[in-house]
């Protein structure tokens, strides 16, 4: 049985502990930062950010500002399209670990041509993989496979101070997700789980996906 995450955005305060902890565990260097008029920084996923907390706001029915936070990462799809697309040109450039459900990029991804690498990126319904010009490889969240294989939780889950992230056996996480959904519906009637049957990183949103990010749900494609 693969592992799954539940990311409960109704509990997320956008402290970005997950984003930083991920960088620290993977020894990623800092990005050049710039004031872009938003708290979101960096503006997008990149080879040094496998995780980024997205900020999006809109006006609610009563004219109040609703500010949503979306800690974005690879969904580790149950049937990962990226692995199939990469396999067509360079077998083993990406692998799907059946034991954990982790979808991983390998060093063989450097053998993908620029076009083939772009095809993998374009195939992802959630717009996750990024090309690293320094190594020629694709980059993305690796589920902290080294930690998980050693019985530890991924770094983002470990560090989350508000309990917005759960990690465990898929059946257990699905059960937790359904219970949390019922609980938050009292405060957020439009709450929903995103693509729960198809991904191992299940988001619990308080409202429609478009109020979070353009690539939250498969249906937004």
């Amino acid at each position: 049985m693969p592992k799954s995450f539940l990311i409960d955005t109704t509990r997320c305060t956008a402290c970005r502990g997950c984003q930083v902890a991920c960088k620290e565990w993977h020894d990623h260097p800092a990005n050049v930062t710039k004031q872009r008029g938003t708290h979101q920084n960096p503006p997008d996923l990149n080879p040094y950010n496998f995780k980024v907390v997205r900020f999006r706001e809109h006006l609610g029915a009563d004219g109040q500002v609703i500010w949503n936070f979306f800690p974005e990462q690879c969904r580790h799809c149950v049937t990962p399209v990226c692995v199939d697309v990469a396999d067509m040109t360079v077998p083993g450039a990406m692998v799907h670990d059946r034991a954990t459900g982790a979808v991983l990029v390998t060093e063989k991804s450097a053998k993908l041509s620029a076009e083939d690498a772009q095809a993998v990126i374009d195939a992802c319904p959630y717009n996750i993989p990024r090309y690293d010009p320094a190594t020629g490889r694709l980059t993305k969240c690796d589920m902290c496979i080294d930690r998980v294989a050693n019985g530890m939780a991924p770094m983002c889950v470990k560090t989350c101070p508000t309990g917005a992230m759960y990690f465990g056996e898929r059946a257990e996480v699905l059960e937790t997700a359904r219970k949390r959904l019922e609980a938050v519906k009292a405060d957020f009637p439009k709450a929903r789980l995103v693509d729960a049957d198809d991904v191992n990183v299940i988001y619990l949103l308080a409202e429609e996906p478009e109020h979070y990010h353009d690539f939250v749900a498969f249906a937004q494609r």
Binding site: C15, R16, G17, Q19, V20, A21, K23, E24, W25, A30, G92, V95, H96, D97, R98, A99, T100, A102, L104, T106, D142, I145, D146, R147, V148, A149, N150, M155, K158, T159, C160, P161
Partner: protein, 188 residues
């Protein structure tokens, strides 16, 4: 991983608790090859307290051969139960970053350059300037003639990196000089 007889015996001997098919090279997936390299493997765990705010989250520092290799929240500590915020999660980089100050830097009045100075020079300068400012500006009595012993030309900026005890000593030192303007980095 290559499955030599020696490796096989070593891993099999490690016992059923740690035994996985992947370690024995039987696993059909390549993924486990990436999982083998845990960067904190064999490192000594040293517990410490996050220096940033007064919540005092406990942190495990992983040390190998006298070098810090990683930091993460301590799950056994009742305050944070393993969690850390963005600042606490960045402790490893706070220690290893090339932006970290390791020598006193001095910028002379009207200069646009920082110069490296040694500690003797720096401490002497601080002592000299504190003494001069205090000698010049000390207010012994107010307009009503009441004793106030106040020094208004020095401002003390505190830091979250100071412990409670350090704060007490700093506070007493400032009060003894007559300094009344004190604030904290987290407030400004």
């Amino acid at each position: 991983m290559k499955c030599t007889r020696r490796n096989f015996l070593k891993l099999a001997g490690a016992g059923v608790l740690t035994l996985t098919l992947g370690q024995l090279g039987i696993n059909i997936d390549e993924a486990m090859a990436y999982a083998g390299k845990l960067k904190i493997e064999g490192a000594k765990e040293v517990v410490t307290i996050c220096p940033f705010c007064s919540v005092c989250c406990q942190v495990i520092a992983y040390v190998r051969d006298g070098k810090l290799v990683s930091t993460e929240g301590d799950p056994d500590h009742p305050v944070n139960e393993g969690a850390l915020c963005a600042k606490g999660a960045a402790l490893f980089t706070m220690y290893t970053s090339d932006h970290r100050l390791t020598k006193p830097l001095y910028r002379a009045p009207h200069s646009d350059k920082w110069e490296e100075k040694d500690w003797d020079w720096t401490l002497n300068q601080i002592a000299r300037r504190v003494k001069d400012a205090r000698d010049k500006d000390m207010i012994l009595k107010n307009e009503a003639g009441q004793t106030v012993n106040r020094l208004e030309s020095i401002f003390m900026m505190g830091t979250s990196h100071a412990s409670n005890e350090e704060c007490a000593v700093i506070h007493q030192a400032m009060r003894s000089l007559g300094v009344v303007h004190m604030d904290h980095q987290a407030r400004v």
